[in-house]
Symmetry: C2
Subunit: 446 residues, 2 copies
């Protein structure tokens, strides 16, 4: 049995160094309208009044970023990326300024800072910049003046040209985690419109269970395989810098999901479950190159071209070459949004294969759990369950804590439900009177 | 006879110092939609291709600033002014980024800069900051790299706290003039939705004539007495720094109105007209304090209180004290938007008068012309014309080049038309065959 650590330290602990700093991040739906901004302001003020110093990172309101992108595309089919960053970075600044106004009206001092003013220093890869340094002096100074600091998410300033940069979609999560790391915050709270990380998508599996705890490794696999609650890069950053993440709902109280180190997760849990969650993705596409020569250089050439075109390749299968000509087939999956880019990149290579086939009607279902390491039978059980549902597994990829199966997109909901039930991940499964609840991570109250 | 100087220097003159820099400013209606932004971009590119180095200052698109203000008021009845500046400054950045994209697509290199990046340094009076320095190094550097530089208008950065500041409504005009002065530009072109400065409001006087030329002094009086085409502060700045302004339409070609020094205007004109333009304002209010003691200190106390409350007083009349108690009446006019503030400021003084009367149904009609200095009969003619229309003049104020009459707001259109005709200001009046056209500044083609 275990309980969640209090997220805000007790007042008695406040003088111990930086341990009383909390970073709170509010996503687009959490600041969409005036009411949502005031609600976020109230949460921020409550954390301040509970004794923490608060840095809040805000996303752009609701559909603001989409609208700005639409304005750019109305002007230019391929907008200049430096100017795109200048354009897109305005959305988060608007959220921060408005939230600061709301906090002032609640009797607290607040100040909004741009990414640049907050010291988020990045490389110069416009529209997809990487944070290379966090110079949080100005934030620390403002916290020292008893101010709540609001930071525009998703943006920074490039070292070389002092231009505004953006971190790519979902980059505000990374801003928050990076600030939490730089400030030595006790926790980085990510507020969204869902209550935490679930054992499966609740829209597909109604009895999906909110996870109390996940390890960084599990969360990485979940983010990479379809769970949308946390941006992959922010989880990587948190793991590398040991930042505790707390995913919570901005619309309800109560704890959400803590993402912590594997060691910490193990210490908090009496018994490790085989499987933590089932994730899925329907926006996959498969590319099959037929009749490529089975030479070492050919596959390397193809995947280098894809990497250069910024296409992430997920699952790869190469058939054994057959016949006298030693020609093989090569299949791989990518995000369906990258399909055009991928085909262009391969065609630019000239004659590498006899033909290209694509399939956009595929999806991927994955089961994830740190406990799989010590339970080698899990893969067999997955194949058995999907087989029992008469679902054809087209491709497979595994890691020590993940098994992903590429299947027909139309069969995704059925596969998710079957796996979720087979591994007893549901909320009902952990009720004390449920005999099948054994072997599962207990809920918060457990 | 005179002709307008070419706005863009001939290519042969290009190498002479900075004389080939042009600053172009586009107002909100000139960048409202994608088409307008592309049109502005084409004008900018045309100026560049004609041989000039171009710095363009852009306002926020259409109603953007109003919408941002509305968002702030939805959150807070009295938004914090520092945060208001953070909020409002985003509008011009959006315009600049979009215009830079459009220019790129036309095959030219452009870069958008925030007010801060452009070196517009201000004091810390948030929402109404004054420019105290222009450090245009980065602009010069980018011009040297053969780039078109787009600068977000209306904003700067404060010296002390490095916070974003804004210059108040219409501040983009001042940004443009300040940059033109700092860069030694040959001209500051102000593009709006009207073709220039007119001899009267064309909505009231259909045959109002577009002025080819106005002196800074005339333009100051016009801006101060109701003409909306140029912000008063920008004209003051231009006069103090000798920046030639060219007011033009962004929707049609052809010259607009040049605003230059009085000396230059005189040199360009064969014969000085008595009167250049009739302006009017309907958003005036009159405050009358009845029964104030006729002591020197009292009026000073009242007008100091109004100045402290940021209320601009226009016309003032004090009656002679009558009766044994030496009590007088004091009347003054202010912008009707300032009425509440003004009354609060006076009431805060305690018992300075027996009563306060206000009248919001008044307006002001003014005639302006540098030639009035040498034609003392103009005032008499104004009173005669208004008297002939049976319009009662309630207050009068004059300067060497202006006569303003406070009249009933309802009679403004009639007064404007009568004065415009009496002083032969109409476009018809200057046709060669018109015998009454003598004594008027010739038109461009004249």
């Amino acid at each position: 049995m275990w309980v969640l650590r209090p997220v805000y330290p007790q007042p008695s602990g406040m003088s111990e160094g930086n341990s009383d700093i909390v970073v709170m991040k509010f996503g687009g739906t959490s600041v969409a309208g005036a009411e949502e901004i005031k609600r976020a302001a109230r949460r921020i003020v409550a954390a301040r009044e509970a004794g923490s110093q608060v840095v809040a990172v805000l996303s752009a309101r609701g559909k603001t970023t989409d609208e700005l992108v639409a304005q750019a595309l109305e002007i230019s089919p391929r907008p200049d990326s430096r100017e795109m960053d200048m354009l897109l970075s305005t959305g988060e600044r608007i959220s921060c300024a408005l939230c600061a106004m709301a906090i002032h009206d609640m009797g607290h001092k607040a100040i909004s800072l741009t990414g640049s003013q907050a010291g988020i220093v990045t490389d110069s890869s416009h529209t997809n910049a990487k944070i290379i340094d966090v110079r949080a002096d100005r934030i620390s100074e403002k916290l020292g003046e008893d101010r709540i600091v609001l930071v525009a998410g998703f943006q920074g300033v490039s070292t070389d040209s002092h231009d505004v940069t953006t971190l790519g979609r979902g980059g505000s999560d990374t801003t928050a985690v990076a600030l939490a790391a730089a400030l030595g915050a006790s926790v980085c709270e990510i507020y969204t419109d869902v209550a935490g990380v679930f054992s499966a998508d609740p829209r597909i599996v109604p009895d999906a269970r909110k996870l109390s705890l996940a390890s960084f490794e599990e969360m990485l696999e979940m983010s990479a395989s379809g769970a949308k609650v946390l941006q992959l890069r922010s989880v990587e950053y948190a793991r590398n810098h040991g930042v505790r993440i707390h995913c919570r709902s901005s619309f309800e109280d109560g704890p959400g999901t803590l993402v912590v180190t594997e060691l910490e997760a193990e210490q908090e849990t009496v018994e490790q479950p085989f499987v933590t969650a089932v994730t899925h993705s329907e926006s996959e596409a498969r590319v099959t190159l037929t009749g490529i020569r089975d030479e070492p250089g050919v596959a390397g050439e193809i995947f280098t071209a894809l990497a250069d075109a910024d296409v992430n390749v997920d699952v790869i299968i190469q058939n054994e070459p057959v016949g006298d000509d030693q020609l093989a087939d090569l299949s791989f999956t990518i995000a369906s949004g990258d399909l055009t880019k991928a085909i262009e990149a391969i065609e630019a290579l000239g004659e590498v294969s006899k033909g290209i086939r694509t399939d956009e009607r595929i999806g991927k279902v994955s089961i994830i759990g740190a406990g799989m390491r010590s339970h080698p039978g899990v893969a067999a059980r997955v194949f058995e369950v999907l087989g029992g549902e008469r679902i054809n597994i087209e491709m497979i990829s595994t890691s020590p804590i993940k098994i992903s199966c590429v299947i027909s997109a139309g069969e995704i909901p059925q596969a998710v439900r079957a796996l979720h039930q087979a591994f007893d991940l549901g909320a009902d499964a952990v009720k004390p009177e449920d005999p099948t609840g054994a072997g599962h991570r207990p809920t918060v109250s457990g």
